[in-house]
C-alpha cells in the first residue's frame, strides 16, 4: 500500500517537472517577424527593418493579412532588436523569419557582424533566404504589397522562382555562414532591384561575394545562369537565349535562338607545374532542345549542328567574360581553391590563394548539343 502511494507521488512529481511551464511561447502572445532587412547608415550605425504580420481578424472571418514595417537605427543588430521590442506590443519572435534582405552598402561591410545574432541564437531561423538589395532594404519593404501579395512573400517567391530556373543558388543564412568562413570557396547571393516600369521588385541576377563581403560586382540573370551551369547546378527549366551570327540585313525581327538545357556536365582540368596552379579549364557540355527558332525550319540535321556550333562559340566567349568578371571581383564562386585543397593538395596554400586566384588562367570551353526541336521541325 505504502509502495503504491510512493509510486503515485513519484508520478505526480515527474509530471510536474516534465511540463515546461517556464519556456512556453504562445502564438497569441507574440508578434511574428516575416522579413528582416539591414541597411548601412553613416558612422557605423545600421538600420534594421522588420516586417511584422498583423494577425487581427482571421481570414476565415473576412479579415485581411497586413504588414507593419518597423525600422530603427542602432550600433548592432541585437541593439536594434531591443529597440524594436519597445516599438512593438507583445513579444517579438523572429524564429519564423523567411527572408533576410541586405542593403547594398551594408553588404559591402562584413556581413558576419550583422548575422552573428542569427548564428548565435538557438531560436534563429537558419533556413531563411538571404539576398542583396540594390539601394536600401527598407525601400523594398516599404512597398508593403505588390498586387494582392504581401512584399515578403512576393520577394521570397521571386528568389525561389529564380532558384527553380537555375538563375540563383539556394542561399540560406546557414549556407552564408558556411561559405563566408570558407577560404577556398566564395558564393553569390540573389540580387534584388526595384523595377520602375513594373513598379515592383525584380530578381536581377547575382551579387558576388568574397568571404564575408559583397564585391560590388553583379552578374545579370543570363550570365548567372551560365555560371551556375558551369558550377554543375542545373534543372530542366533552364533556358538559354543567345544571338546568332545572322546577316543583320536579313529583315528578321528576331535574331536569337533559345535552347532548353536538358543535361549538363562539367569537367575541370587543372594544369599544375612545380606545385603551382597555372591554368584551369572548365569544359561545359550542354545538351538541350530548341525552344524558339523563328528564322528558319530545321529540316536537316546539319542545320542543327550549325546552330549548336555557333552557340558553342558564342557561349564560350560569354563564359570566359564571366570568369574574368569573377576573377576581377576575387570571387571564387566555382570553389577552385576548395578543389585544389582536396585534389591537388600540394598546390594549395590558403594564404597565397587570396592573391593567387586573380592571377591564374581560367578558361571555359562550352560545347552545345541539340537533340530535339519541339513539335515542329
Amino acid at each position: 500500500m505504502n509502495l503504491k502511494i510512493a509510486h503515485y507521488i513519484l508520478v505526480i512529481c515527474c509530471t510536474l517537472t516534465l511540463t515546461s511551464c517556464w519556456d512556453q511561447e504562445l502564438l497569441k502572445n507574440s508578434k511574428i517577424v516575416y522579413g528582416a532587412g539591414f541597411d548601412y547608415e553613416s558612422n557605423n550605425m545600421i538600420r534594421t527593418t522588420f516586417v511584422v504580420r498583423n494577425l487581427g481578424v482571421p481570414v476565415s472571418q473576412g479579415g485581411v493579412y497586413s504588414n507593419r514595417v518597423v525600422s530603427v537605427v542602432g550600433p548592432s543588430s541585437r541593439e536594434t532588436r531591443l529597440q524594436m521590442d519597445r516599438l512593438i506590443s507583445k513579444q517579438l519572435s523572429a524564429s519564423k523569419n523567411q527572408l533576410l534582405l541586405l542593403g547594398e552598402e551594408v553588404a559591402k561591410q562584413n556581413i558576419d557582424h550583422m548575422l552573428d545574432i542569427l548564428f548565435r541564437d538557438p531560436k534563429s531561423p537558419l533556413d531563411a533566404r538571404i539576398a542583396v538589395v540594390e539601394g536600401r532594404a527598407l525601400d523594398i519593404f516599404n512597398l508593403d504589397h505588390i498586387g494582392d501579395t504581401l512584399i515578403v512573400e512576393f520577394t521570397t517567391d521571386l528568389i525561389k522562382g529564380a532558384e527553380n530556373k537555375t538563375e540563383a543558388t539556394k542561399m540560406t543564412v546557414e549556407k552564408a555562414f558556411r561559405y563566408s568562413l570558407d577560404e577556398g570557396q566564395d558564393y553569390a547571393l540573389p540580387y534584388i532591384s526595384y523595377n520602375e516600369e513594373a513598379s515592383s521588385p525584380e530578381f536581377n541576377g547575382l551579387a558576388l561575394f568574397h568571404e564575408t563581403t559583397y564585391t560590388g560586382t553583379t552578374l545579370p540573370p543570363s550570365d548567372a545562369k551560365l555560371l551556375l551551369l558551369m558550377n554543375n547546378e542545373s534543372s530542366n527549366k533552364t533556358s538559354i537565349v543567345e544571338f546568332l551570327d545572322n546577316d543583320p540585313n536579313n529583315e528578321f525581327l528576331t535574331n536569337t535562338v533559345t535552347i532548353n538545357v536538358r543535361n549538363d556536365s562539367v569537367e575541370k582540368d587543372y594544369s599544375i607545374k612545380n606545385n603551382l596552379l597555372e591554368k584551369v579549364t572548365i569544359n561545359l557540355e550542354l545538351r538541350g532542345n530548341i525552344e524558339e527558332y523563328p528564322q528558319n525550319n530545321l529540316k536537316e540535321k546539319s542545320q542543327l549542328t550549325d546552330i549548336a556550333d555557333d552557340l558553342s562559340k558564342r557561349l564560350t566567349v560569354r563564359a570566359n567574360e564571366i570568369l574574368n568578371k569573377l576573377q576581377e571581383a576575387n570571387c571564387d564562386f566555382l570553389g577552385i581553391g576548395r578543389d585544389l585543397n582536396a585534389y591537388h593538395h600540394k598546390a594549395w596554400n590558403a594564404k597565397r590563394w587570396e592573391k593567387e586566384y586573380k592571377e591564374i588562367k581560367l578558361e571555359a570551353k562550352v560545347k552545345v548539343d541539340i537533340d530535339e526541336t519541339g513539335i515542329i521541325k
Binding site: T17, S20, P122, D182, A342
Partner: protein, 362 residues
C-alpha cells in the same frame, strides 16, 4: 548465480551500447576536429579498434571471476585494503561521471531548448527518471535500454538527410595531417566512447557467459563506433573547416537548419532522443556507484545506495554551470577515466594472470 536477476547477452549488448552513447556525442566532432582536423572521423574508427582490445582484456578479467563484479573480485587479486581503496575510487569515479553527465546535460538543454527553466528542474528531470530506472534492477535496465535503442534509427535518418548538402571536398585529402596526429587524437575519441567498463559490473548477471558475452560486447563497440563515425562524418562534410572550430555542438547545429513540411526544428527532435541516451548512461553510472556502496556497506538491497549516489551527484552538479568551467572539469574527468576504464582493469588482469588467481582457484 547469486540472484535470479539475470540478463540475456542481447541485453548486455544494449546496456553497453546505451552506456557508451551519451552526453559526449554532441561535442565529439568538434573535439576530434581540434585534434586531428578533417581526419577526425578516421581517428574515431581507430579509437574503436583500440577499445576493442580493451574490451577483450576486460572480458578476460571478468571471465576469470564469472560470478563477481569488480568490487567483489578486487579483494581476491590485490588484497582487502587496496581493494577497499579501489572500490572507493570507483564509486567516486561513478559519482563524478554522473555529475559531469548532469552538468553537460543541463548546459546543453539550457542553451538549446529550455532557456528560462530553473536549473534544478532540468537536473531533476534526469535524476528522477534515471534513479527510477537504476533502482529497477539490471534486468529492467537491460530491457528498457533495448526498447529505447530503436530511437537511434530516426537519429541516423535525420543526420543522413543533411548529406544532401554535403561537400566531400571538406574532408579531402584524407590523411592530410599524417598518421601521427590521427593516432594522437584518439585520446579525445576514447573519452566519448567510455562506458564499456560497465562490463566489469554487469558480467556476473549475464546468462550466457563466455564467447556469447564477448560477442555482445564487441558488437556493441562496433555499433557505437560506426554510429559515432557516421555522425562525425556528416558534420565534417557539412560544415566548412572554420565553422567546426567555433561550433561546439555541430550535430545539433547542422539539424537546426533542416526543416520538413510539418517539423520546423529538427534539432529539437534530435535533442529529445539524445536526452534518452543521456539518461541511460546516467542510470548506468548510478548503478555502478550504487552497487559499490552496497558492497562496501554490506547491504542487501541496492535501492538505498543508488538513491544516495543520485542525491550526492545532484548536489555536486548544482555548483558550477558555465561552459568553460565544465569543459575544464570534464577534461580532468577524462584524464581520470583512463585509469578507471583502462589502467586499473588492465593492471588487475595482469596481476591476476601472474599470481594465477581465479575464481574457485584462490
Amino acid at each position: 548465480m547469486k540472484t535470479n536477476n539475470t540478463i540475456h547477452s542481447t541485453q548486455l549488448f544494449f546496456i553497453i551500447f546505451q552506456t557508451q552513447v551519451g552526453v559526449g556525442v554532441l561535442s565529439l566532432p568538434t573535439s576530434l576536429y581540434s585534434g586531428a582536423g578533417a581526419d577526425g572521423w578516421i581517428t574515431l574508427i581507430l579509437t574503436g579498434a583500440i577499445i576493442q582490445g580493451v574490451i577483450y582484456i576486460l572480458y578476460l578479467l571478468s571471465n576469470r571471476f564469472p560470478s563477481s563484479t569488480l568490487y567483489e573480485f578486487a579483494p581476491k587479486i590485490v588484497g582487502k585494503y587496496i581493494a577497499f581503496v579501489l572500490s572507493l575510487l570507483y564509486i567516486a569515479f561513478a559519482i563524478s561521471t554522473a555529475v559531469i553527465v548532469l552538468e553537460l546535460f543541463e548546459t546543453t538543454v539550457k542553451t538549446w531548448v529550455l532557456f528560462r527553466t530553473p536549473m534544478l528542474a532540468i537536473l531533476l528531470l534526469l535524476t528522477l527518471t534515471g534513479t527510477y530506472l537504476a533502482v529497477g534492477k539490471l534486468k529492467v535496465m537491460g530491457r528498457f535500454y533495448q526498447i529505447v535503442s530503436i530511437l537511434i534509427v530516426p537519429l541516423v535518418i535525420m543526420a543522413a538527410y543533411t548529406l544532401k548538402d554535403a561537400d566531400l571536398r571538406y574532408i579531402l585529402p584524407i590523411g592530410e595531417n599524417g598518421f601521427g596526429t590521427i593516432l594522437k587524437a584518439t585520446q579525445k575519441g576514447i573519452v566519448s566512447m567510455l562506458g564499456f567498463e560497465v562490463i566489469l559490473f554487469v558480467y556476473p548477471y549475464v546468462q550466457d557467459k563466455g564467447k556469447a558475452a564477448l560477442k555482445s560486447a564487441s558488437l556493441a563497440n562496433l555499433a557505437v563506433t560506426s554510429l559515432y563515425a557516421f555522425l562525425t562524418f556528416t558534420t565534417y562534410v557539412f560544415f566548412s573547416p572554420k565553422q567546426l572550430e567555433m561550433i561546439p555542438e555541430p550535430i545539433v547545429y547542422m539539424l537546426k537548419g533542416v526543416s520538413f513540411i510539418i517539423v520546423d526544428r529538427v534539432d529539437l527532435l534530435f535533442l529529445s532522443i539524445w536526452i534518452i541516451s543521456v539518461m541511460t548512461s546516467y542510470a548506468s553510472y548510478l548503478y555502478i556507484g550504487g552497487i559499490g556502496i552496497q558492497y562496501l556497506t554490506k547491504r542487501k538491497k541496492t535501492t538505498g545506495p543508488i538513491i544516495i549516489v543520485a542525491i550526492v551527484s545532484l548536489i555536486l552538479s548544482t555548483f558550477t554551470h558555465d561552459r568553460y568551467t565544465i569543459e575544464t572539469l570534464s577534461s580532468y574527468h577524462a584524464n581520470a577515466s583512463y585509469f578507471f576504464a583502462l589502467g586499473i582493469p588492465i593492471l588487475l588482469w595482469i596481476i591476476s594472470v601472474i599470481t594465477k588467481k581465479k575464481e574457485g582457484a584462490a
